[in-house]
C-alpha cells in the first residue's frame, strides 16, 4: 500500500507553505507561458527571463494542489541561473523520475529511476509515482516550462 508520507514529504509541504520564486516578470521582455490541468482546474503561469542562453530569472503564479505547487517551487529553485541546456536536461531527468514502472505499482522493488543524487530536493517528489493520478500534478510545471522554451524557440547551444 502506498503510504501518504511517501507523497507528502516534509520538504514538499515546506515548499507548498512557503513557495519560492512566486511573482511575475514584465512580459515582454520575459517569456510568459500558461499551463493548465483541465481535470483539477489547476493553473500555472511561468515567467522566464533568458539572457545569453542562461535562465537568469524565473517567477511563478497561479494556483494548484500541494504537489503541483511544491513541484513548481522546487523546479524554479533548481533551474534558476542554469544554462538552457542544463534546464532541458533537468526537465528530462524529472520526466524520467515521473515515469511509471510496473514494478513500482506492484510494490515489488524499486524502479530504475534517474540518478537521485543529481536531483537534490526534487528527489523528494519520487513518492508521487506511487500515486499515479497525482503525476500530472507534479509534471504540470515542468511541461509548462518545456512548452515555454519550445514556444519561444529557445535553443540550448547543445541542441542546435
Amino acid at each position: 500500500m502506498a503510504n501518504l508520507d511517501d507523497l507528502y514529504r516534509e520538504i514538499i509541504l515546506d515548499h507548498y507553505r512557503t513557495p519560492r520564486n512566486r511573482g511575475e516578470l514584465s512580459s515582454p521582455p520575459a517569456i510568459r507561458t500558461e499551463g493548465f490541468n483541465p481535470l483539477c482546474g489547476d493553473e500555472l503561469v511561468i515567467y522566464l527571463d533568458i539572457q545569453d542562453d542562461v535562465l537568469v530569472d524565473i517567477k511563478l503564479s497561479g494556483h494548484g494542489c500541494s504537489i503541483s505547487q511544491a513541484s513548481s517551487s522546487m523546479m524554479s529553485a533548481a533551474v534558476k541561473g542554469k544554462t538552457i541546456d542544463e534546464v532541458r536536461a533537468a526537465i528530462e531527468r524529472f520526466k524520467q523520475l515521473m515515469t511509471v514502472h510496473e514494478t513500482t505499482l506492484d510494490g515489488n522493488g524499486e524502479a530504475p529511476v534517474a540518478d537521485l543524487r543529481t536531483m537534490g530536493e526534487l528527489a523528494a517528489l519520487q513518492g508521487v509515482v506511487k500515486f499515479p493520478v497525482r503525476i500530472k500534478c507534479a509534471t504540470l510545471a515542468w511541461n509548462t516550462l518545456s512548452q515555454g522554451l519550445d514556444d519561444y524557440g529557445v535553443q540550448g547551444t547543445g541542441s542546435k
Binding site: 501518504l4 482546474g41 489547476d42 493553473e43 494542489c65 504537489i67 500515486f131
Partner: protein, 411 residues
C-alpha cells in the same frame, strides 16, 4: 407499500463491502455515480447469460427476448417519469451529455436560427453549456446565463428581461456542485409565459426525489441511468411525442432508418430514429432493475433520508474545524440535495481528497464540469461529498474524522 431502510440498501450493494487502505469504504461520491445494488448487477448478468442477441433484428427466441428486455426498459422508464404518451416518447442515449447533444444538434439545429436565444444558468454542468456554444458557433444563436446569487441560488430578479427572445430555457433540477434544487415548476411556468420551451437536466434529481414530467410541465428531460443505481453507458432523452416526431435524426446508421436506397434514406419513426447502431441492451435490463429497486424503496423516502443526512452534516461541518471548512452551497436543507462541496482553508481539494482516501473516504475533487460556476465563486476546485440511498450518518462520522486529519496535516 415501500419499505425503505438505508442499512438494507447497504447490504444489497456489493461495492460497499470493499475495504480501502484498511478501512471499510465510505462512499460519498454518488453525485458522480451511484453504486448499483445486486438486483441491477444480476439483471445485467442474467441478460448476458440467457438472452443476449441483437435487438430489433432476429426472429429467434432469444432475439425476441432481448428486444423485449430493451423495449420493456423503455416502457418502465416512461412509467418512472410519467411520460404522458408512454414509451414512444423515450429515447435511449449514452448519458445525459449525449441527451443534451441530441437536443441541441437535432431540435436546436432545426428550430433555432441566428439571433434566437437559449437561456441556461450559471450553475449548469458543461453538458448543458458546451452543446449550446457549439450550436452558437454554427448558427449564430445567443447563449444567455441566469446568474447565481451569493446565497447559491438562481438570481431570478431579472428573469423576465433575460427571457426576452428566448426559445429554450435549459436548466438543471439540482446543482451537482452546490446541491441547490431549483424551483422547476415555477421557472417552467414563467418560461412558458414568455413562449419559451423548457429543458431539464435531471441527472442529479432522478435518483434522489420523485419525478413526474407531467407535473413539472417541462418539454425536454435528460438523465443518466448510472446516477440512479443503474449502469453506466445509458442515458435517457424524453420529450413530448409531438415534438419528438418533428425532430430530425441525430446520428445516422443502422437501426434508425425506415429505408435506404442509393440516392438517400428515410428515417424511422419514433424513438428509434435517434438510436443508430446496436444500443446498450444489457444496460437497459439494469435500468429496469434500478427503477424497480428505487420504486421499492420509494423516492420520497430516499429524499427524506438524504435530507436528514444533509442537515446533520451541514450542522456538524459548521460547528467543527473553527470555520476552516466552508460548504459552498446553501447552509440549510430547504430546496437542497445531499451534495456538499467543501472548501478547506489552505488545503487544495486534491490534497483533501488524497488524505480522505487514506481513510477509505471517496469524494470528488475538481471543478465538477461546472467551470462557469466555479469562476463565479472564485474557486478552482472543491472537494465534493455527496449522499446516496445507502448513505448513513456513520459515513459523515468518517468524513469528519478524515477532514480533521487533512486540516491538521496542512496546518
Amino acid at each position: 407499500m415501500s419499505s425503505y431502510n438505508p442499512r438494507r440498501v447497504r447490504v444489497d450493494t456489493p461495492l460497499l463491502e470493499r475495504v480501502i487502505n484498511g478501512r471499510p469504504i465510505t462512499y460519498l461520491d454518488s453525485a458522480s455515480s451511484t453504486l448499483p445494488p445486486r438486483p441491477v448487477i444480476e439483471a445485467m448478468a442474467r441478460y448476458y447469460e440467457l438472452r443476449h442477441a441483437n435487438v430489433h433484428r432476429g426472429v429467434y427466441q432469444t432475439a425476441v427476448e432481448a428486444t423485449d428486455v430493451y423495449e420493456g426498459a423503455r416502457a418502465a422508464t416512461a412509467r418512472f417519469i410519467n411520460a404522458p404518451q408512454g414509451m414512444d416518447e423515450v429515447v435511449f442515449t449514452k448519458n445525459t451529455t449525449e441527451s443534451f447533444n441530441l437536443l441541441a444538434k437535432s431540435w436546436g439545429a432545426a428550430n433555432l436560427k441566428a439571433g434566437d436565444v437559449v437561456l441556461v444558468t450559471e450553475m449548469e454542468h458543461h453538458a448543458n453549456i458546451v452543446p449550446w456554444f457549439q450550436l452558437r458557433d454554427q448558427t449564430g444563436i445567443e447563449v444567455r446565463f441566469v446568474p447565481v446569487s451569493d446565497d447559491f441560488r438562481l438570481d431570478v430578479s431579472d428573469l423576465d428581461r433575460l427571457l426576452d427572445g428566448v426559445k429554450l430555457f435549459s436548466f438543471t433540477a439540482a446543482s451537482n456542485v452546490l446541491g441547490t434544487r431549483n424551483p422547476v415548476k415555477e421557472l417552467t411556468r414563467i418560461a412558458h409565459d414568455h413562449g419559451a420551451l423548457v429543458a431539464l437536466d435531471a441527472a442529479q434529481s432522478v435518483g434522489h426525489q420523485p419525478t413526474d414530467v407531467v407535473d413539472l410541465d417541462v418539454d425536454f428531460f435528460c438523465f443518466s441511468a448510472h446516477k440512479m443505481l443503474g449502469p453506466t453507458g445509458l442515458g435517457v432523452f424524453w420529450t413530448r411525442a409531438a415534438i419528438l416526431e418533428s425532430m430530425p435524426p441525430f446520428l445516422g446508421g443502422g437501426g434508425m432508418i425506415a429505408d435506404v436506397r442509393r440516392d438517400g434514406y428515410v428515417p424511422a419513426d419514433g424513438p428509434t430514429r435517434f438510436e443508430a447502431g446496436t444500443p446498450p441492451i444489457a444496460e437497459t435490463a439494469g435500468l429496469t432493475a434500478a427503477i424497480r429497486y428505487l420504486e421499492g424503496l420509494g423516492l420520497a423516502n430516499i429524499a427524506r433520508h438524504e435530507d436528514e443526512l444533509t442537515g446533520d452534516a451541514l450542522k456538524r461541518l459548521a460547528n467543527e474545524f473553527d470555520g476552516r471548512v466552508r460548504v459552498i452551497g446553501p447552509a440549510d436543507t430547504v430546496d437542497r440535495g445531499g451534495v456538499l462541496s467543501l472548501d478547506v482553508d489552505g488545503v487544495h481539494p486534491h490534497d483533501v481528497a488524497q488524505v480522505l482516501d487514506q481513510f477509505g473516504v471517496c469524494v470528488r475533487p475538481g471543478h465538477h464540469c461546472a467551470k462557469p460556476l466555479m469562476r463565479r465563486f472564485n474557486l478552482a476546485a472543491t472537494a465534493r461529498a455527496s449522499f446516496g440511498p445507502y448513505s448513513l450518518t456513520s459515513d459523515t462520522d468518517v468524513l469528519l474524522e478524515a477532514l480533521g486529519s487533512a486540516v491538521t496535516m496542512f496546518a
